[in-house]
Symmetry: C2
Subunit: 425 residues, 2 copies
């Protein structure tokens, strides 16, 4: 989002043209002039290079419009591939996509749990290789891997804030390790941004102001403005899990008070359910507070709610009301047009959260008089982050990012910053 | 922020080059290639046109670097001018700026109060003409007027939410009226966005993730991402006055509950002060609740606080704590690097609000481990919105906005949308 008046780097015209061709399916050079705003001369130069590189092919002619029939261009989808890896505590999802972002192969494997990061990296390298081989794709056509994990991801050393779920990984250089183990380029990002990009590349999201509200082990959001991820200078934009919804709210692991995640996250729901002996028993919750059990216990509370257990229902609806306030905040600040609810937590409990978020935005979104915020559950919650991860790899190779929006280089995990002294906000 | 992969409209290379020259002061063609990422061929074509149009002039040579000495380019600042008008309840501020955004003339006149919009428009036309004439600028060189007022501004009919302060203006088409009265193009925007752009054009703000937190009759924020205003699809992005900070908070005029503005705005401070008989007397508050008195009464409460009145101090510090939570929310969602406190309210009481906002961000901003948020009081609170308004006019003529980010077309004022039923959030 940077650079003088958004001036774009050298290869960006190529990037923009390629993305228009991808989105259009087939389009003529004249169509590209209209869609990109570049001159005819620029378009013909860029297109020639793209054809020479084998990324774009000519594919017949458009209907005659009186004059000379126009040659149609389309992406040579099988020219390049990318692997998308969605790393989470409870599972690792892999996809192999072509240049257009279409999934040609996918698989799911066991999650990280308390596994040693080195062995996870070796496993990811082996599983990625198996995915590529199984799909019969020459390794030379694979641009690299996009790896996404629970945020925040850090763009450099000195960043000292990490989700508790994978804090035991310490400062392990995940990106560099995977790059070494696979011999392929690796780009990193957080799962919420990847989920938003995955929805967009899959044609599930429009090009306006769009966000993916992600509930996994924590709560976050990925922002897409005009189809372009907005990550912010440290790659942590959209962290709505850590905005204050109650001045004197509970302490959050991030050191602040009253954060959405501390009030409404799966962890908060599960802890409250465990504290309710009757509910804990009826829902069959695990006694231990082990993180490994959190997702399972959140699912158990959700099932209890669906069975009509009033205590479970009340806990989830309280969580939903806070999540709705966070959604309203994000929608008002970004002037959102579209919001998708996604991530493992909302894949499980979305039917309880969706109406509460919808009602809050219909009733209280500041710009509701100008336009609504379309809210829906993701149709691809399980794979969107991995598809987005692959799309990031494709983008980082083919679609140079604007200055100041480069992807994070390494994922480091560490203790949180010194906790805040309690305050009245 | 729209268009495929941020593809830019036809004239945008011209726009980007012009903005780089403006920001650089003087720069060579080679320097422009480096700064914009455009090819040498594009740069020389664009620069030739800019010189032909009289917008850019050659100004001597750079130090020889061994090879041929490079011709330096600079903006022909006196080639064009723009008028910026900041319309507020309590005052109208005018600036005349050159093509570089430098103020060549300014003046302040009486505010809107309860004046009829038609007479305000005629007055603005006459006062603008006087400003231009007084500066001895030929009218032909004036591109037009930028007019900014308390948001939200609406991009079209059907928008039905307006600040109470100027709601009595009904559906009066301010922009069209001023255009007719002056015979010059008019662009509209809200004062918070204009304040942010004014800080940027005056070199007071960096090019990263920057926001101006504006407290006037209400509370809002203007967002600049990489030097480019982010307005959102309805032009209402950054409306942090209407994000929820307390689930069961007071009803806001916008129809929602617990909004920053209802909890912490000048109106809330003044009403609380009026309810305190002792404070109301010691601070010399007006009995009447007339809006016209609100700013004066807010100033009176601030003076009382500076005199050491504990009640006044407590009210302002409570307001500051809520404003700090809103600032933390905006900073976390946009991953802000820089925040300036501005607007009439903070020009008066900034010294009380600044430390509270700074402490909150140092302690609880989510990305504090990656980078701080530099918070400061505006050095130009009185003129930044008007300068930004003029800059918008310059931009709309010289720097075509990206698709989907066009400026609002007409300012309409109306009743708020049907108020929300009270709810627990």
């Amino acid at each position: 989002m940077s650079g003088p008046a958004g001036a774009m780097p050298h290869a960006s015209s190529r990037a923009a043209v390629l993305d228009v061709i991808r989105a259009a399916g087939t389009i003529s050079r004249v169509g590209l002039v209209g869609a990109t705003g570049f001159t005819g001369a620029t378009i013909s130069t860029v297109v020639r290079r793209l054809i020479d590189d084998g990324l774009v092919v000519e594919s017949g002619h458009a209907e005659s419009t009186g004059g000379k029939r126009r040659v149609l261009l389309q992406l040579n989808r099988s020219a390049r591939y990318a692997v998308g890896v969605h790393l989470d505590h409870d599972g690792i999802t892999y996809v192999l996509t072509d240049l257009g972002g279409s999934v040609v192969a996918r698989m799911s494997r066991a999650g990280v749990g308390v596994e040693d990061p080195r062995s996870v990296v070796e496993r990811m390298a082996a599983e990625s290789a198996a995915l590529i081989e199984g799909a019969g794709i020459e390794r030379e056509r694979v641009l690299g891997l996009g790896l996404v994990a629970p945020g925040p991801l850090n763009q450099g050393p000195g960043s000292r804030l990490m989700q508790p779920a994978i804090r035991h990984w310490g400062d392990f250089p995940l990106g560099a390790g995977l790059q070494e183990a696979t011999g392929l380029p690796v780009v990193l990002d957080n799962d919420a941004t990847a989920a938003a990009l995955g929805e967009h590349w899959s044609g599930q999201a429009g090009g306006g102001a769009f966000a993916a509200l992600y509930m996994g082990t924590g709560i976050g959001a990925g922002l897409l403005l005009g189809g372009i991820p907005y990550r912010g200078p440290s790659g942590n934009a959209g962290e709505i899990g850590h905005i204050p919804l109650a001045a004197d709210g509970p302490q959050c692991w991030c050191g602040a008070r009253g954060c959405t995640e501390a009030l409404a996250g799966p962890g908060a729901v599960v802890e409250a359910a465990r504290a309710d002996a009757v509910l804990a028993r009826s829902a069959g919750l695990s006694g231990e507070a082990g993180r490994g059990r959190r997702t399972a216990d959140f699912a158990a509370v959700t099932r209890a709610a669906h069975r009509g257990d009033p205590g479970a229902r009340a806990l989830l609806e309280r969580s939903a009301r806070y999540l709705a306030l966070a959604a309203r905040t994000l929608a008002t600040i970004a002037d959102l047009e579209e919001l998708v609810l996604t991530g493992p937590g909302l894949a499980i409990a979305g039917s309880i959260y969706l109406p509460v978020v919808q009602e809050e935005l219909e009733r209280s979104f500041f710009s509701r008089a100008s336009h609504p915020v379309r809210v829906r559950l993701s149709r691809m919650a399980a794979t969107a982050p991995a598809i987005g991860a692959a799309a990031m790899m494709l983008q980082s190779e083919l679609v140079p990012l604007r200055e100041g929006t480069r992807l994070p280089e390494n994922l480091t995990a560490a203790e949180p910053a010194p906790a805040a002294a309690p305050h009245g906000g």
